[in-house]
Subunit: 214 residues, 2 copies
């Protein structure tokens, strides 16, 4: 009887502990990811240190190694977060009953030019990640997954109307154009204008390319 009670209460206690632990864990992780994105946007990945992140999050420096195993782990988690955000925007736009190739392409383009994606926070961070991923396998793998996903989403839409070769060509062109507008806008003096024009001109290209194949 007593043993039974002890065991039960121990189980309850443990599960409560685990729940609390993971909740706090998730909160801290999110705080730190957010702070690191802000720091990267403001200071650049180059000048972002464990101290600029932890101070911004209102936490101590040691906590980063505790939750992410080190600075590198946090940086990769931040990139994963940006990619997840992009994927979420896209899924949301594709599941609103739109099915025509034009609508599908528009949704993809819009997802890549979301308010969030065009924020300083996102643009500067993406660019920093792009550069560093050339020399860090962990980041490079993530970038390649992301690039491949954009391309294959676009290609699928084009292939609904175009033959295989034309779809491949158009998809590569549009994917490059999207990334190119991103890059040029991020580097320009007036990023917002660049993004607006980029969204318009990408849609325009998509329409033209679809029309040509018919």
């Amino acid at each position: 009887m007593i043993i039974q009670l002890r065991l039960t209460s121990m189980l309850i206690e443990r599960s409560i502990n685990i729940m609390t632990k993971t909740k706090i864990k998730d909160t801290r992780r999110q705080q730190l990811i957010q702070a690191s994105l802000e720091s990267i946007a403001e200071l650049g990945l180059q000048n972002t240190t464990i101290l600029t992140i932890s101070r911004r999050a209102g936490l101590s420096s040691g906590i980063i190694s505790h939750y992410f195993g080190g600075k590198q782990g946090l940086i990769e988690a931040a990139l994963r977060y940006l990619m997840a955000q992009l994927g979420q925007d896209l899924r949301q736009r594709l599941q609103q009953g739109e099915v025509s190739p034009e609508q599908r392409l528009n949704a993809i383009i819009e997802a890549n030019f979301t308010d969030f994606q065009r924020s300083d926070l996102a643009t500067r961070t993406w660019l920093s990640f792009w550069a560093r991923s050339m020399h860090e396998p962990g980041l490079q793998r993530l970038q390649q997954i992301n690039n491949a996903r954009l391309y294959s989403n676009i290609r699928y839409a084009f292939a609904l109307k175009l033959n295989a070769e034309a779809a491949t060509d158009a998809a590569r062109q549009l994917a490059a154009m999207i990334d190119g507008f991103w890059l040029r806008s991020a580097l320009s003096l007036d990023p917002q204008e660049g993004f607006s024009a980029g969204e318009r001109l990408c849609k325009q290209f998509a329409l033209t390319a679809l029309a040509e194949g018919t």
Copy 2:
């Protein structure tokens, strides 16, 4: 008489000294720029130190501050060198008597996909510079000049056949597409294939855009 001789010899001496000095100076500067590009390509801008550069150039670490005033000065000089190379390739291709808009656009595209430009050395370095220029005004200024030059060269060619608005749109699209193929190729597992396809698809787009306006 004696005084006259002294003055003359002093002038000769000085001019020889200056000639020798600038020759050695130019040689060393070029050595160091080359070494820094190689180091950036291999290790990334992040991991490039004054030691990795100077050891690769077979010189001592102190020499960099002596000729460039510091690491930062050398990095900017290296970017200037890449930009000059690009400008030279373009000028060479445009001054071969080609005048039609198609030929002009092809020349611009080819200059951006030169063997040199698609080398690891160039791609990785450009990408590193892109990222860092967001947070360093000196580099940012240079990048903006380069971006503006590519755009206005393209726009000029389109404007020979298209009206003002169509030329602006097409130029922005093509400029973005060129940069985008660059970026995606640099990050891909098989950069050479990406560059080849990029060159072909950019030319294809340029032709289509020119044809549409007529």
